[in-house]
């Protein structure tokens, strides 16, 4: 028996005739399905027909407070747009109001990820020439500088090499531009742990923002360049600070037909493996709480590793917040939201900071974007995992 058998068993054959209930069921389904263009539209409809059972978990809705940006309503807009009931310019920026935190999918019995469903909508909006200005700026930057920024003010650790060069540190656009202390700490830490580390001569964006914004061509160009640079580097392992870079290099590339020969690790996975049995101690005792980055916790399911690393450190007390691990809450900086509404991004960050501060005034996380997001929302005591571990090393 399966979940639908009860229905097929009880549908009354007298009403449905000799053709049989299952067949009628399928014919009826096909009649409607034939009107739908592709699988994405079918998924959009399924989501649109749900009463928004994930809405409690959507940070964009919680802070934005408009029905229009709730997960199922964005899908409904996408569905109506796909059916040509709505025009591209009537969608506004709403399809970009998403932080790609995956909370919707985490709470959806149909495993629907609204962020993924919106990508083809954005693609078609781009095709029709209806793209928000902030998004076009990102596209231009990706084309001109190979990063999400107009220019990278500091080249940071590009082209540096110490030791045998087996471990390559992939820094990420955000860390290079907005968190040099994180880059320095991670580079030095890998050198300390491994005896050697190197970086690419010219590090370009992994392509994830291009993909989410619906710029397939720009993604392909970046992915090809990054693939070539990483494979030519001769590194055996690539360590990323950014969970999204980790996911993109590890999973998205292979889904899209690219291949990175080296092992891809997030810094927390790398440290959990390398630090086992090493004595680490902070000079001054510290109480912290740990913020799980959405992509790391939900997509990559890496929640034990950062905790294992932190628990290795003497003189460090870790307070678990209420919303943690897979139930973490977003920092506000993920996905495409910040390109169209920085203010709302910051509100989401403040909501998360308020929760975390109930456990400790000092936040540790393992994503450059989360750190920057909290800092921009006015939080000073926020550190990356690498910074804390390096401090314990010293």
């Amino acid at each position: 028996m399966d979940e639908n058998s009860w229905l097929f068993d009880i549908l009354d054959p007298k009403i449905l005739g000799e053709i049989g209930p299952k067949k009628v069921f399928d014919i009826s389904a096909d009649a409607i399905r034939n009107k739908l263009k592709n699988e994405n539209v079918e998924e959009l409809l399924k989501c649109a027909l749900c009463p928004n059972m994930c809405e409690f978990s959507c940070p964009v809705l919680r802070s934005g407070g408009r029905e229009t940006i709730s997960p199922a309503r964005k899908s409904k807009l996408g569905y109506l747009y796909s059916r040509q009931n709505l025009e591209a310019d009537e969608l506004g920026d709403n399809p970009y109001y998403c932080v790609s935190c995956g909370a919707c999918e985490h709470n959806c019995p149909m495993d629907i990820n609204v962020s993924d469903l919106l990508v083809p909508i954005r693609e078609r909006m781009n095709y029709q020439g209806v793209t928000p200005e902030g998004v076009l700026d990102v596209k231009k930057n990706l084309k001109d500088t190979g990063t999400i920024y107009e220019e990278i003010e500091d080249e940071m650790k590009e082209g540096e090499e110490v030791g045998d060069g087996k471990t390559l540190y992939f820094q990420s656009c955000v860390a290079r531009q907005e968190s040099p202390e994180l880059v320095n700490a991670t580079f030095n830490l890998i050198e300390e742990v491994d005896g050697g580390v190197k970086t690419l001569e010219e590090e370009k964006c992994c392509g994830s923002p291009a993909l989410s914004l619906g710029f397939e061509e720009e993604f392909s160009k970046l992915a090809e360049e990054v693939q070539e640079a990483l494979n030519d580097s001769g590194a055996e392992r690539i360590v990323c600070s950014c969970p999204t870079c980790t996911k993109t290099l590890r999973e998205t590339y292979s889904d899209e037909g690219y291949e990175i020969e080296a092992e891809i690790l997030h810094i927390s996975e790398y440290l959990a493996e390398k630090l086992e049995g090493i004595d680490l101690e902070l000079e001054e005792s510290m109480e912290i709480t740990y913020h799980d980055p959405c992509t790391l916790a939900r997509d990559l399911e890496v929640t034990d590793e950062p905790r294992k690393v932190l628990e290795e450190i003497d003189n460090l007390a870790l307070e678990e917040p209420y919303f943690s691990e897979e139930d973490t809450r977003c920092c506000g900086r993920g996905g495409t939201l910040s390109y169209v509404d920085e203010e709302l991004s910051e509100e989401i960050a403040r909501e998360r900071i308020d929760h975390l501060e109930e456990w400790s005034g000092t936040i540790v996380t393992s994503c450059p974007s989360c750190k920057v997001s909290f800092e921009e929302a006015g939080k000073d005591e926020v550190y990356n995992l690498s910074e804390i571990v390096l401090r314990a090393f010293e």
Binding site: M1, D2, E3, S5, W6, L7, D9, I10, L11, D12, I15, L16, P21, V24, F25, S28, A29, A31, I32, R33, E42, L45, K46, C47, A48, L49, C50, P51, N52, M53, C54, E55, F56, S57, L61, R62, G65, R66, E67, T68, S70, R73, K76, L77, Y79, L80, R83, Q84, N85, L86, E87, E90, L91, G92, N94, N107, P109, M110, Y322
Partner: protein
């Protein structure tokens, strides 16, 4: 925009721009919109026939303007303006309503309350919590849980409903047999009247100072004003929780069993009786349930008391049925928020809906069988089933489901309305109430006068006095001639 609507707004594009401009002057431009994306998003909530129309790219109706107040003063200004101009206002919380309560049948303003979603106070000393009306139910519950409390109101719509919506529909939850419905939980509320006046009323723990006014808004479905804040009793999270399930040969055995439980001063938090079809639907993984009626129980509260209470419940159950252990209860707990059928079946062309209604013990079985037979008698209906999910010493709530495929002679709407008509007629014929916790909406308005015959005049007087211009969710209860 190319969206066909079933109900037409009297306002045109020029009117919309005028209303937009005037409301922007009242509350600020960032809180008002006439964008089609916003209008489409607030079009109908979760009305099943509306869902069917969504598949076809249609909509029941579209509001002309959407507003997002972020404080009570905004709500007051919006209603005051709408009252002066005679523009309909439809308060919109989580959008989970299933009866067309949120349909802007005469156009007007959709009042999206979600920006008003803060906890005002959790008063641990006096065991109460005050919250803004637009707060999502689950977010409210999570804020309470992390401090060790619960309201006890856990509806299936917990994840997608607002606390204001709970009160406006006089809702109840899956644990109601112990905790009661929201009318038992509410200690007070703040509401804005159509003329913009703000009224507040709350009590704790009890008072005898004339008739309470705030209960008027409980179940009012936005027809008398807009709830902006509410105070609820809170309970310490239970220290003990016990599960049991039983199978019965027939639904009459299970009804008699639960009746005896309720009349013996026992109050399980959860009791759910599934008829044979629904047993097959929900417990297909349990072979012992084949052709049986399953009933699940959750008893919770003070650990020692709950343990004893569960022993008593089991003693009574053993007289009528056979124990099935805890697994079916765990299965129910794991799947109780799964409403994926509503996403799958409209795509298959299946017209379906659920109807909850209540009745006293003396007529419970006839009420159940009458409801099923009435729905089955409608040409095109291929499925009729029910479970019972809320119990009282005085009676029970049955939650019916019907499904069908329109024959060539009927439209989907005709099939839908015929099934509803048949079911509600049987409820009234068997001495029951036409709704237990979903409310009235557009779907049930046509029977309200029959259900509450002797109270209709008073209800009309209240509406006419409080909302003389009939701007608040007009047409919903069909109490006025122009409804």
């Amino acid at each position: 925009m190319d969206i066909e609507t079933v109900y037409q707004s009297p306002y045109d594009e020029e009117d919309r721009h005028r209303i937009l401009e005037e409301l922007e002057n009242e509350i600020g431009s960032e809180k008002v919109s006439i964008d089609n994306a916003d209008r489409v998003s607030s079009s109908h909530g979760f009305w099943m026939i509306g869902e069917r129309w969504t598949v076809e790219g249609k909509s029941p109706a579209l509001p002309d303007v959407v507003v997002w107040p972020d404080e009570t003063e905004d709500v007051s200004k919006i209603l005051s303006y709408a009252n002066e101009m005679g523009i309909p206002v439809i308060p919109y919380g989580g959008g989970s309503n299933v009866l067309g309560n949120l349909v802007a049948r005469r156009g007007g303003i959709s009042l999206d309350m979600k920006k008003m979603s803060d906890i005002v106070e959790i008063d641990e000393n006096n065991l109460k919590a005050t919250v803004q009306a637009g707060m999502n139910g689950m977010n409210f519950e999570q804020e309470l849980r992390r401090k060790g409390y619960t309201t006890g109101n856990i509806p299936q719509s917990l994840y997608c409903s607002s606390v204001g919506g709970w009160l406006a529909t006089n809702a109840t939850g899956q644990f109601s047999t112990k905790y009661g419905g929201v009318e038992k939980m509410a200690l007070g509320l703040e509401a804005v009247l159509p003329d913009g006046e703000v009224v507040e009323g709350s009590l704790s723990p009890r008072r005898s100072t004339g008739p309470e006014v705030f209960p008027l808004f409980i179940g009012s479905e936005g027809t008398l004003g807009t709830i902006t804040e509410a105070t609820f009793k809170i309970n310490k999270e239970p220290s003990g929780r016990y599960f049991a399930s039983y199978v019965f040969d027939d639904i009459s055995d299970s009804i008699n069993c639960v009746e005896e439980i309720m009349k013996n001063d026992l109050r399980p938090a959860v009791v759910r009786i599934y008829d044979k079809i629904e047993t097959k639907r929900h417990f297909y993984e349990f072979p012992e349930c084949e052709d049986k009626v399953v009933t699940v129980f959750v008893v919770e509260g003070n650990e020692n008391v709950a343990e004893e209470e569960m022993k008593e419940v089991k003693d009574i159950c053993s007289k009528y049925g056979v124990s099935l252990g805890e697994k079916p209860v765990q299965h129910w707990l794991d799947t109780r928020f799964d409403v994926t059928e509503t996403s799958k079946y409209p795509q298959y062309g299946l017209i379906f809906d659920t109807i909850e209604a209540s009745v006293g013990w003396d007529n419970a079985e006839e009420f159940y069988r009458g409801g099923i037979e009435a729905m089955e008698s409608v040409d095109g209906i291929v499925l009729a089933s029910a479970h019972a999910s809320h119990f009282y010493p005085q009676g029970v709530c049955f939650y019916f489901t019907f499904g069908g495929i329109p024959p060539s002679s009927k439209s989907s709407q005709e099939l839908y309305e015929e099934a509803w008509d048949a079911a509600v007629k049987s409820f009234l014929d068997n001495g029951g109430h036409i709704s237990h916790h979903h409310g009235i909406g557009l779907n049930r308005g046509r029977w309200l006068s029959e259900e509450r015959e002797s109270e209709v005049n008073l209800l009309k007087k209240i509406k006419e006095k409080v909302d003389p211009n009939n701007i608040m969710n007009p047409g919903l209860f069909q109490l006025r001639e122009d409804d």
